[in-house]
Amino acid sequence: MSDFNFFLEVLIGGLLSGLMYSLVALGFVLIYKASGVFNFAQGAMVFLAVLSFVGFMELGLSFWAALPVTIAMMVLVGMATERFVLRPLVNQNENTLLMATIGLAFVIEGVAQLAWGVDVRRLDLGIRDEPMPWLADNFGIFVSELDITAGVVAAVMVAALAVLFSTTKAGRGLRAVADDPAAAMSIGIPLQQIWMLVWATAGVVALVAGMLWGARSGVQFALVLLALKAMPVLIIGGFTSVPGVIVAGLIVGATEKLAEVYIGPYFGGGIEGWAPYMLAVLFLLVRPEGLFGEKIIRRV
């Protein structure tokens, strides 16, 4: 295998996992854009979603029966969160809202484990975690079929959300609410419906992200830590930009894999874990608003 093929292999693997980071980060962006809340519970929602999905299958539901049931459940969880946690806290400051979502995270984690138990489960999507033969035979590049599938699904999901929020009525409403809630209401945009829609969407995004990550590394409590993985993506991409987190996800994915392979040996490995955070710190110094985030202008 040539060095270049190996480089490509690492890069592709990195970009694919990057797309999955993007997907997780997207859940944050949606909620942050619409309501200015940093939803600390997003990781917990990912965990709850996929755990429930596996749980429903264990109860005897088929894949295609468990999917709509879980989606419906996540929509309800999202809407309920908006209705019972966020709405009563309207007009509170950011810290209060953040604390509320931290609390929410513990509640969701607890409820999930209470309902479905604490065992690590395997999620079999029927896709092999083996190199795709076509790529391996023709180009000598070994990339797992599961990774490719996950990347494609994430890409489709991201694209669908991008269309949803750029061209549709709800999308326009969301952007208006993000810019100025009072003005948005005055032109007839129902703020709370937009928030519910966003939370419900975030719930569905969490399910998809959970299924992809779960299929890859098992359905386990560690999934809640995905929220931390999304942090550098959010910092680099900007908290309010959908295209920003997509690009940032790809950057983070590629960076951590390439760093691990090419720089890691000098540090004795393990670099994958912290390289993205280093990158994020650099971004904070140079471009604090992120790649595509709104420029923060402080007038003196």
Binding site: K169, R172, G173, A176, A178, D180, A182, A183, M185, I189
Partner: protein, 279 residues
């Protein structure tokens, strides 16, 4: 290019409240005994007045008189503890801003509330929110209804752009516009909803005399051309008196005068309230 700027003042001379496109009709909005309290503070005390269809109705009063609260009550931001509001004779309960918008009440804000990240065109298109019906699927697949609706909305918005003479800033992000133009864009966004009643919260605040004259002309033209009922707030008696049919005067949350500009001007309570207030 050649700086053939139009003079706004000359036009205001001809469109007056006396000769207009739509004759003033019956009451479209009736407020009865409205009282609003924040904690122990009385913001509004037993205020009653009505607004007639197609008229220009001003609410004036010194700063802190409760004018903005009044507007916020009409548009559902605040719910008064007492009193009733009737819209076209029907009593309203449980008002919210989106509901007010659906009933045809549009508004502008004292401190300009535009969607700062969007262009002028997008702001006005956002104003068409209630005129968009196509679903996600229709939009995503560009089905005929979605396309037709988009064209209709764009046409309506372009008419307003022409009406307000803001063609040259169509694509400009609103944050980059000077204050006077932002006010005009905000008026445009409110108009895009094709409202029956337009609530204007200090539309001329912070403007120079030319901008004020322009704004007056646009308000008169909107009323004349579209027949829109206008309720506007000002703390400055000057310009408003020239363009209003009737004026309500508030002071410390109480109504102290109501009538034509001339009546209000000669009302001793109003004179007292305004004495000592610099203009």
């Amino acid at each position: 290019m050649m700086d053939m700027s139009r003079t706004a003042a000359s036009q205001a001379d001809y469109v007056t409240t006396a000769n207009r496109g739509f004759a003033v009709g019956g009451p479209i909005l009736e407020l009865e005994e409205i009282s609003l309290r924040f904690g122990g503070v009385n913001a509004l005390t037993k205020i009653s007045f009505n607004v007639l269809e197609h008229e220009i109705r001003a609410i004036i009063g010194p700063n802190g008189a409760g004018k903005s609260s009044m507007l916020n009550v009409i548009n559902g931001v605040y719910r008064p503890q007492e009193g009733t509001i009737k819209f076209k004779g029907k009593r309203l309960t449980g008002m919210t801003p989106p509901r007010a918008a659906r009933m045809g009440i549009a508004r502008t804000f004292q401190n300009i509330a535009l969607f700062k990240g969007m262009s002028v065109l997008d702001n006005l298109m956002a104003g068409r929110y209630l005129h968009s019906k196509a679903s996600f699927v229709e939009v995503a697949l560009q089905l005929p209804r979605a396309r037709r609706e988009e064209t209709e909305n764009r046409e309506a918005v372009e008419e307003i752009i022409e009406f307000l003479e803001i063609q040259h800033i169509r694509k400009t992000p609103v944050a980059k516009l000077p204050y006077g133009l932002q006010k005009r864009v905000e008026l445009g966004r409110a108009l895009a909803a094709e409202p029956k009643i337009l609530l204007l919260d200090e539309p001329m605040a912070g403007m120079n005399i030319e901008e004020k004259q322009d704004m007056c002309r646009f308000i008169l033209d909107v009323n004349d051309h579209y027949g829109t009922t206008v309720v506007l707030i000002e703390h400055d008696m000057g310009v408003v008196m020239d363009i209003s049919d009737r004026v309500v005067v508030l002071d410390y949350g109480k109504k102290i005068g109501d009538g034509t500009p001339d009546e209000v001007r000669s009302n001793p309570d109003v004179i007292n309230a305004y004495l000592g207030v610099a203009h």
